[in-house]
Amino acid sequence: MNIVVVGLSHKTASVEIREKVAFAPNQMEKPLRELVELPDINEAVIVSTCNRVEIYASTHDVAGGMARLKRFLAGYHDISLDILEPHLYSYHGEAAIRHLFRVASSLDSMVVGEPQILGQIKTAYGYAAEYKASGIILNRFLHKAFSVAKRVRTETRIASSAVSVSFAAVELAKKIFGDLTDKTVMLIGAGEMCELAAKHFLNSGVRGVMVTNRTYERAVRLAEEFDGKAVRFEDLFDQLHKADIILSSTGATHFIIGAKDVEGVIRQRRQKPMFFIDIAVPRDIDPKVNDVANVYLYDMDDLQGVVASNLQLRAEEAKKAEGIIDQEIGRFFNWLSMLEVTPTIVALRSRFEEVRQAELAKTLASWKDLPPDGQKRLDALTSAITNKLLHPPTTLLKRTGQGGRTDLYVDALRQLYELETGEPQEEELGDLEE
């Protein structure tokens, strides 16, 4: 039994292609049922997000199974396989296991470390389980992927830091103020960056927004958008003490806020901290403001520096995560290998026993005057011979189950002795993970 995956992602296909093969979340029953009815395909899980569409399946025939999945993906969405083929990737065995572990741990995401993907895979698995498209192999596989992702999340800091300028500003604010719910943000000027940052602050629960602009009408319009309060530009310094977080991005060619101004304001605030974010270039706020006690000033370069070092941190953490995944692949692969080994050993043993019993019966039937003692001895002798012969292959199989060419031996034994093994049963497999 083997695990295969066929799919495409933001790395191999543009959004035009991705949207054509996406599966709607509320219509998963049909494709899942069709998949498991395909010959060669035993179990299937469909992961469909805006950045990737992937089908995971278990199959006895790797090449045939992958080809069928590709044809299914094209056929289901009415696209010619010739168009789709160049965007598709397919993996089997260890590579397929590594792929899902990396995807679930958000190492394959557009923004490495983003947290949504794990939830999306859980939902995808939910559908497969609901429509009984997944069985013991994919069940175990997906659960393993969840636990690997969890381990990566707790043991590395892959998702612990902001990788956009506006999120970086929010995180900094949290390190200064702790809770943001009773804080007020003031926007000075307007601009895309400034508004985006303001939105992030609002999402983090700040209490109020104040907006000021040289053109009062613009301030009013923007204030309405944020459900905030417009302030006349002339009143800036009368109102500044009410703001905890100040986002500035005016088109001014000189500093509009100096250290002296802020010293006055901070006294008025009885030293309650202030966080200035200067997004404007050229800058709006005198860098000396950062030297005032309880005041923190970050300009665009500072924020970009934070983002750059966070990205670097994520890259380093991603390496650690790959190490964790390597370990876990080994463990899961052992389990998967043993899935084949145990039934093969059982079948091999019963085959030998069958032959022995048959031959023994034949001999005893023709050897009438053999005393009971002799019969016993004959039984013991044949039993000893078969056991001696079976010992080396049994131990070899069990040992190679710990990561070797198990498939090779299992296939060889099956063909050599014409063994037939049924589907593996969960109970007899035991838990090899711990």
Partner: protein, 280 residues
């Protein structure tokens, strides 16, 4: 039995401190939780030791350096656990438990023989006065730890060096809040400790206040924390200034606790004097 309790406490404090240090370096939540339970276990043992010692001596065990250092350590850990539970900041332990461990190590260096207590000191006041004083000291020690953390975190934010320690330290607001809470608990305790001390002095020696070095330095400590509290409540002292004040206050407090013994003039509170059983 007492020695066994003492050394197992010391041992667990050591392991807990190492775990807190590891937590400072490695981002594993489990380390923080392990350290928390270790220190809580150590604290229970330490309580058992102190109670056993109380019954053996027949009075609160704070009459020589061995006992007082251990008792100081006990109160620090107790107050720290309360704050850790309240604010969910394991990392506070990385800054506070080493102090308690050092005190325990120092305690282990002093003879553990139970001193004969002069009858004048055998009083309920011994328990009330010293416990209040030590709990207030412990609260200020936690404030000291939070203040150090504040200064580090504030420096990171001002210099824009946002490394892994920055990530792990809590927000400035929370650190300042801990500092303030410590002050609002510790200051009234210290005030009552000084007052009960004066009442006890009156019953034991016949005078409320004799400008003994310990008394003088306690008063200086009190004034420092009074100034900080006043500044916080009226002109909005906070942040870095409050942190620096707590650090200065802590060193003066340490001197009040230990340094006074080193002064040439003889203090009524000196542990050696207590040991000798001499009294005025």
């Amino acid at each position: 039995m007492n020695a066994l309790l003492f050394y197992s406490t010391l041992c667990i404090y050591f392991i807990a401190t190492v775990t807190y240090m590891a937590y400072l370096l490695k981002p594993r939540q489990i380390l923080g939780r392990a350290a928390h339970w270790l220190i809580a276990g150590g604290f229970l043992l330490h309580c058992a030791f102190t109670v056993a010692r109380y019954f053996e001596a027949g009075h609160t065990p704070i009459t020589n350096l061995h006992e007082s250092l251990s008792f100081f350590s006990l109160t620090i850990i107790g107050v720290f656990i309360a704050f850790e539970r309240r604010y969910h900041v394991f990392i506070l332990g990385s800054f506070v438990t080493p102090l308690a461990l050092i005190l325990m190590l120092a305690s282990s260096l002093y003879p553990s023989a139970i001193p004969e207590l002069p009858p004048a000191l055998m009083s309920r006041w011994l328990f009330v006065h010293t416990t209040l004083a030590f709990v207030s000291y412990a609260t200020f020690t936690v404030a000291f730890g939070a203040a150090i953390m504040y200064l580090i975190q504030e420096r990171f934010l001002k210099k824009k060096q946002l490394g892994s320690l920055y990530q792990k330290l809590p927000s400035l607001d929370l650190l300042d809040e801990i500092n303030y809470r410590c002050l609002t608990f510790g200051f009234p305790l210290l005030t009552v400790a000084i007052i009960t001390g004066a009442i006890w002095a009156e019953t034991a020696w016949g005078t409320y206040w004799s400008w003994d070095p310990k008394e003088t330095w306690s008063l200086i400590t009190w004034f420092i924390y009074a100034a900080l509290l006043h500044g916080r409540l009226t002109t909005g002292w906070r942040g870095k200034r409050a942190a620096l004040f707590s650090i200065v206050g802590f060193f003066v407090l340490l001197f009040t606790f230990l340094g006074v013994n080193l002064l040439p003039s003889e203090s009524l509170h000196s542990y050696e004097r207590l040991l000798g059983g001499k009294n005025r």
